[in-house]
Symmetry: C2
Subunit: 480 residues, 2 copies
């Protein structure tokens, strides 16, 4: 049996949006009202349609250029999408106006529904659903951030990045959506569409998954899921989506305690851990344990074509670190085999430095600072038939020491390195773990990321992400 | 049977030091010679004794204020300690001069001994040992950085920190010693004495351990060990040391591949993984998997008195993150129990904000930005009888969002928080995982660390370190 294939394309292209709620600054805290929060977010993302505010309180010092109407029915043209920031209790009445006005979709930011301890919340959610179904309005949420789509100017927070990418996301938590977009962007991963869907009263996670699975703008799908109303439908959608595209899942509420927290967060009853584990395994999705792992894995799919296997050429400039990280790699099931005889021969012909041996792992020692050797060295490793990918560890304390000894800046070294790496065909990743000079570490990490090289904060993180990448049969990177 | 108790105190208080080796800049690479590297390091650390250079090449543009002698025997006064930066082959002859001169200890930075592929290296190491024993000279290394002791001005790298602390370290790898000192310092952990002992030809790791175990300046011991010549002696020393002080061990070369890398690094034959695992378990040391974990654990012992158990009060300002981190905590064997009825009552009396419930985990939501509630909130959690410690997660993307909404800077919030935390008796730790604005994240992390609050990059890292801290019976923090 297949899920229905709802066409949700229209959801991401509303001709006009009205944000509904108070425009008044909070007198005590001087808090900017959420109504304005959303309006500014859409304006900054360059939303091209018509945008207005609906508020009984009228314009205020917080409202910007958008026109403020006392009622939805006062707006002259059509309204395709509304965003509710009113108190929950006010929504049913205004939703009747939406039906009259022909609104097609509503994102409900307001909380106080089935996730709340108040029993009234549940019946209020049912009432909203009843009106929406009657009027043919799709509800996103309630208790969610709604839609983010840089390409069509949709946005739920003013400071989110406006560069589109190829990652689609469904998230029951607005916070996890925001966190993933920000952290992903820091790691060079861009997003096509993100839907924060909260309590999932009407629009279901699996429906958005089905849409993203066939969306041409989306090549990779990430999901933060707390629960579902229909486990079979979700399983079918995950399975179908992961047949078409890599799907990475972070499941919230696997433990009974986490489940309890999820229940007061999005009203989800998350179900038992073994059941979810089995389902995620069967659907061939990749499971991440936290947002860092989710983003590290997304970055790996985004930038890296699939390494043919788990045999790595491991390069480092610190002897002790390389011993330890070899242990870590072996613990994760990776191999660090001898280099092929041809590779050793090629390396010894071009490089002749004392204290550097061409065993694998490769202790580069001070060779790191002789940039004339990068090209022959990486060239030889690129052709090595005994290894599937190259992992380069940069130890910032060595970089600083060698900067002092050789008077060469790490920026110049990284630039020289990046000048060559484009010619290397073999998958190549970098690990720059924290040690000293966090600001320099960030600069090095960002330079590699900017060049499209997956760059990790920890060996552990790199190997988890690489495992997921290698286990997935798809050959090509999805981000470029 | 007990190990001998060698008194090594004298090793850290040499009256005079001679650094032996070339003073010439490398013509091709313009590299600063190691001889100068060590001299500058000692000078910058404020070494109070007499310091000179021994070099057949005489003074150069690289030498500073130190006098350069052509031979050790030309130095007028006594020389207690020498540092060898000459080629390995030159050492036996000069070591004979050391015997004549009455030198008491020699650190050999030079490599090319038993760790090298050249069979001559092994016999050279034996020859050095024979001369040293004859003359009563203790050899540190070869193939090591030697001694770091801020209090007595000993140092092996110019940019290492000069603020003493209570952590002692033995490390077979100079790189791992440097990495641990730097990363430890970033995390607020200072060092009393660090010995990088390389190939361990004469001075044994276990001897230094015995010394650190009874050293009054040392309250915590960390060790990076690749191998040993005497497993029984090392086991006895680890056991005895960990009876007196917390001992954290990072073992390099647990895997056969890591072992191979260790062998070309310090000449160590590391032995089998299960044997080491059993030995480390029996000696009741805490085992870390990498330097980050080693430092995170050290930080926890340094600053945190022992939580009475694994029950945490978990505070966060992001609902999704708190669900996920609750799962992570449960996976690590921690509990997030309901707060005691009294706590809930106290909290609901002082705090009355919509959407905030006093279940545990505690979703602070926007309360994070109402600093008047910190004092009553932390006061109530401090007295809670159902929890053993407080873990506070700061989500930087929320901080940035709330900064926008409330126009309050995170610095002011952190300051207000720190103003109260001194009155909280219950162990308190912070996790600030990477998301957006790495520079702001660093500033927040550093502010908490400066106040002596263990602050972690990941929930996983925090929980590993806390596990070690809770498993150790010692009650008091060792760093203050």
């Amino acid at each position: 049996m297949e899920n229905e294939k709802p066409d949700l394309e229209w959801l991401f292209h509303p001709r006009s949006i009205a944000v509904i709620g108070s425009t008044r600054m909070d007198k005590g805290t001087q808090r900017v009202p959420h109504t304005i929060f959303f309006t500014v977010a859409l304006r900054r993302m360059g939303y091209p349609g018509s945008l207005c505010v609906v508020s009984r309180s009228g314009a205020s010092e917080a409202t910007g250029e958008e026109k403020v109407y006392p009622s939805l029915l006062d707006i002259p043209g059509p309204v395709d999408h509304v965003i509710f920031c009113t108190p929950a209790r006010a929504i049913p009445e205004i939703l009747e106006d939406c039906v009259t006005k022909g609104v097609r979709s509503a994102g409900i930011f307001s909380s106080g529904f089935s996730e709340s301890e108040d029993p009234e919340g549940k019946s209020l959610e049912q009432e909203v659903l009843r009106i929406a179904r009657k009027g043919g309005i799709r509800i996103i949420g309630p208790n969610c951030m709604g839609l983010y789509c840089p390409e069509s100017g949709l946005n739920f927070r003013a400071d989110l990045p406006n560069n589109p990418g190829t990652t689609g996301m469904i998230s029951q938590s607005g916070g996890m959506a925001i966190r993933t977009i920000f952290h992903g962007t820091e790691k060079g991963v861009g997003f096509s569409k993100v839907v924060s869907y909260g309590n999932e009263s009407d629009l279901q996670g699996w429906e958005i998954l089905d849409y993203l699975a066939q969306d041409e703008k989306t090549q990779l799908i990430v999901a933060y899921i707390e629960g579902t109303q229909d486990g079979r439908a979700l399983a079918r959608s995950l399975k179908e989506a992961s047949r078409k595209k890599p799907v990475l899942v972070l499941k919230g509420g696997l433990s009974p305690e986490g489940n309890r927290a999820a229940s007061s967060h999005t009203g989800s009853m998350a179900g038992s851990d073994p059941l979810w584990q089995a389902m995620l395994r069967q659907t061939k999705t990749h499971v991440a344990l936290d947002v860092n792992e989710l983003v590290d894995t997304a970055m790996t799919f985004y930038y890296l074509k699939r390494p043919a296997g788990r045999r790595m050429a491991l390069m480092c400039i610190s002897g002790g670190l390389i011993v330890n990280y070899t242990d870590v790699a072996v613990r994760h099931g990776f191999k660090i085999p001898e280099l092929a005889p041809d590779t050793k021969k090629n390396l010894s012909e071009v490089i002749n430095a004392p204290g550097t041996s061409f065993t694998n792992p490769i202790d580069m020692a001070s060779l790191f600072f002789s940039n004339r050797i990068y090209a022959p060295m990486l060239g030889a490793l690129d052709k090595d038939t005994n290894t599937d990918f190259i992992l380069f560890i940069i130890a910032m304390e060595y970089v600083r020491g060698l900067e002092y000894q050789y008077k060469v800046s790490v920026q110049r070294i990284v630039e020289a390195f990046l000048g060559i790496i484009g010619r290397v065909d073999k998958p190549f990743v970098v690990v720059v773990p924290p040690s000293v000079d966090e600001e320099s570490r960030l600069a090095v990490e960002r330079a590699f990321l900017k060049a499209g090289i997956p760059t990790f904060l920890s060996m552990d993180g790199a190997l988890r992400a690489l495992s997921a990448r290698i286990d997935d049969p798809r050959e090509e990177a999805v981000g470029r």
